[in-house]
Symmetry: C2
Subunit: 408 residues, 2 copies
């Protein structure tokens, strides 16, 4: 396989190591990726990315979600620039906040109102706070292994977290109605809400779309107990269904948390809610220095209008299906068994018999060397700037990837 | 007093009321200000702000802190634009993250390393998490009434918050060594850290700079117990002393939380820390979708270089002293007793015998009508784009303000 030269990346890693603990933090830390992966990037354009050593990649991580329409999307950036010329972070919101709120409420099926934040974690935390305030109860049910953010009440790590931070969380298994019923029963009269990811996108395992039965059970429990159904749309939002990822199931939540793709890479998050939670939402104290920032909101207005106008989820589904079919065919040609899961717009590819992701790493490293950025164990993301030609490039690179795995 | 026409603001408030709970959230909600204040803004330039009805204000809230150098600062925005042309939210950080981290570590007295986030609350929460991870202990001491963010563990409101969210907080009184010693004794072997605002800037009360005795006591307790001293610089950072607000006291913290002014209005926060906390900082899981965003980092590099080059804190101190002296003189001319407190770069003005802020509101409303944006009970902020002429405008408006109070 062609070897990627990483002189500049290595130099930056060495400098970063001195001034940033571990050289980087969180989900963007390249230490969690195969050795061949770069840590530092110099440029993005559409669905393509360049690392600091000048290597070009057709990118299927899309900034881990935010890149929905392509980097430097002309309409989004023009809207952002227009707002920027007036003002961004002022003593209060700009008119665009109202425009965005009206658009979100119009687009999202269950939304009677919305509020804006900066991080996905801000949105999930706000949802939980509103549910507790509205119900006067404490228990929140979450799926085992689900990711809802990176603060003590929900972080995947327990380091620096106290037991009390999670005193009122209780757990069920995704898509398991029985376990959900049992958790709700256990919470009894103290059930404030059930928080569920739009689909099961746990790291390193097969992804699962919610079954209609499971979604209805969650709705039924919340209705019967006067609790709130919270959907975490942070990762999936606007890629599966612009009106809400559960719209196709015929089940509507009471609160949803959104972020990542909402402003095509500009930092923004949102909570949407039903009318019965409006009063509580107006009473809890949630805020941030930059939460009324107008430029990200202008970018979000442009992004969401394009999502609706161009039916971006449908376009991503079409591209994603071509990718999935092509990967399936090629893996078979190499006599390999792969498992592709999750919605095709956010595909996950795992190898059979690959508990340590050795096959996945070999596959992805080979693809990377041929200019395609895949992830060996996290769900990936398509963007609307991807073309059929990009998918073809990915499939050609995948042949080298599968060959590498077959040679292990 | 001239009445400000608010047709457009009123129309936007009415629209917002329908799609945003209460029409707005958090600290930027105009409901917390006298009636005359606008909710929506259309433009910012330097230290001046326009509301959506076209009224112009010399602005002494400066976006509640972020506006340090003036809106649309040419050097900051040029740096941001240069980075934007390459890329912002990519699959990992850009080179500018290293440049910024090196600059922060170079500038901030106690900093051996740094990490970046988006909200001030992200930074304070991360500090607490790192302190707990490093010490393996749980208790965090905080000052009664101090503001450290807007999530359940620290929100000024208890609505939607459970008792367990604050199970391991214990309280002392700012500048009261005895109460600090007592709280530390009570925490015993479980003391993870002491979290203190750079100065006491509680809403609606006189501000207090920390005494040397108090700062040394906090340091002594942390040293003797192996706990971490955490300074919340979110509000004060880079306005009092670019190396850290406590540098003049000769006391250095172990961890500091920064945000607001760090990137002159671009959404960014930072944690800085001492070497003994580096390992814990590299191990806790903290992350956000936009935390590696390169544009805000480029803006921060430009902002911090200007802060250092131009000694912005000294410039703000000079302007702030002129404002304070002028307000004092003029209040006396009207036979009024005012209390000005806090550092002059972040002044707080309260009236004697004004428990319901009726005098403060009349004063600020009259100033607003004359094109000066003051706050009746929160600390205010100067920015480097303010001029001597702006201060003169404020002092002239203050005469009308004091006349209004004298006429009550």
């Amino acid at each position: 396989m062609p070897e990627l030269i990483r002189t500049r990346d290595a130099a930056l890693r060495a400098r970063a190591e001195k001034v940033v603990p571990g050289g980087m933090w969180g989900h963007l830390h390249a230490a969690k990726l195969p050795e061949a992966y770069p840590q530092f990037f110099s440029r993005g354009e559409g669905g393509v990315l360049w690392d600091v050593d000048g290597h070009r990649y057709v990118d299927f991580m899309c900034s881990w979600g935010p890149n929905l329409l392509g980097h430097h999307h002309p309409e989004v950036e023009e809207a952002a620039e227009r707002q920027r010329r007036d003002g961004d972070c002022l003593n209060g919101p700009a008119e665009v906040m109202v425009e965005l709120a009206e658009l979100v409420v119009d687009m999202v099926g269950h939304a009677d109102w919305t509020q804006f934040q900066k991080n996905g974690t801000d949105a999930t935390t706000t949802c939980v706070t509103i549910a507790r305030a509205a119900t006067g109860r404490r228990k929140i049910l979450v799926a085992k292994g689900a990711y809802h953010g990176a603060v003590p009440w929900c972080s995947p790590s327990l380091l620096g977290v106290t037991a009390e931070d999670r005193a009122h969380l209780a757990y069920f298994t995704f898509n398991d109605v029985e376990s959900l019923d049992a958790a709700a029963k256990e919470a009894g009269d103290d059930l404030a809400g059930i928080l569920i990811s739009a689909f099961r996108h746990d790291l390193g395992s097969d992804q699962e779309l919610p079954t209609v039965e499971f979604a209805r059970a969650a709705r039924r429990i919340c209705d019967s107990k006067g609790a709130a159904l919270l959907i975490d749309e942070v990762r999936a939002g606007f890629r599966l269904n612009a009106a809400g990822s559960w719209e196709g199931l015929g089940v509507r939540p009471d609160l949803s948390a959104w972020s990542k793709a909402i402003a095509n890479g500009h930092a923004l998050a949102a909570v949407t809610g039903a009318d019965w939670l409006r009063r509580a939402a107006s009473q809890v104290f949630v805020t941030g220095s930059f939460w009324a920032g107008a430029v990200a909101m202008a970018a979000a207005v442009a992004t969401l209008k394009i999502v609706r106008r161009d039916d971006v989820p449908a376009r991503l589904a079409q591209l994603g299906q071509t990718l999935r079919d092509g990967l399936e065919t090629r893996s078979r040609q190499f006599g390999l068994s792969i498992r592709q899961s999750g919605p095709v717009q956010m595909p996950t590819l795992l190898f059979e018999g690959d508990p340590d992701y050795r096959k996945g790493s070999a596959f992805c490293s080979a693809m990377l060397a041929r200019g395609v950025y895949f992830h060996p164990k996290h769900n990936m993301f398509l963007c609307a700037a991807h073309t059929e030609a990009d998918i073809a490039v990915a499939l050609e690179a995948a042949e080298h990837g599968f060959a590498s795995v077959a040679a292990l």
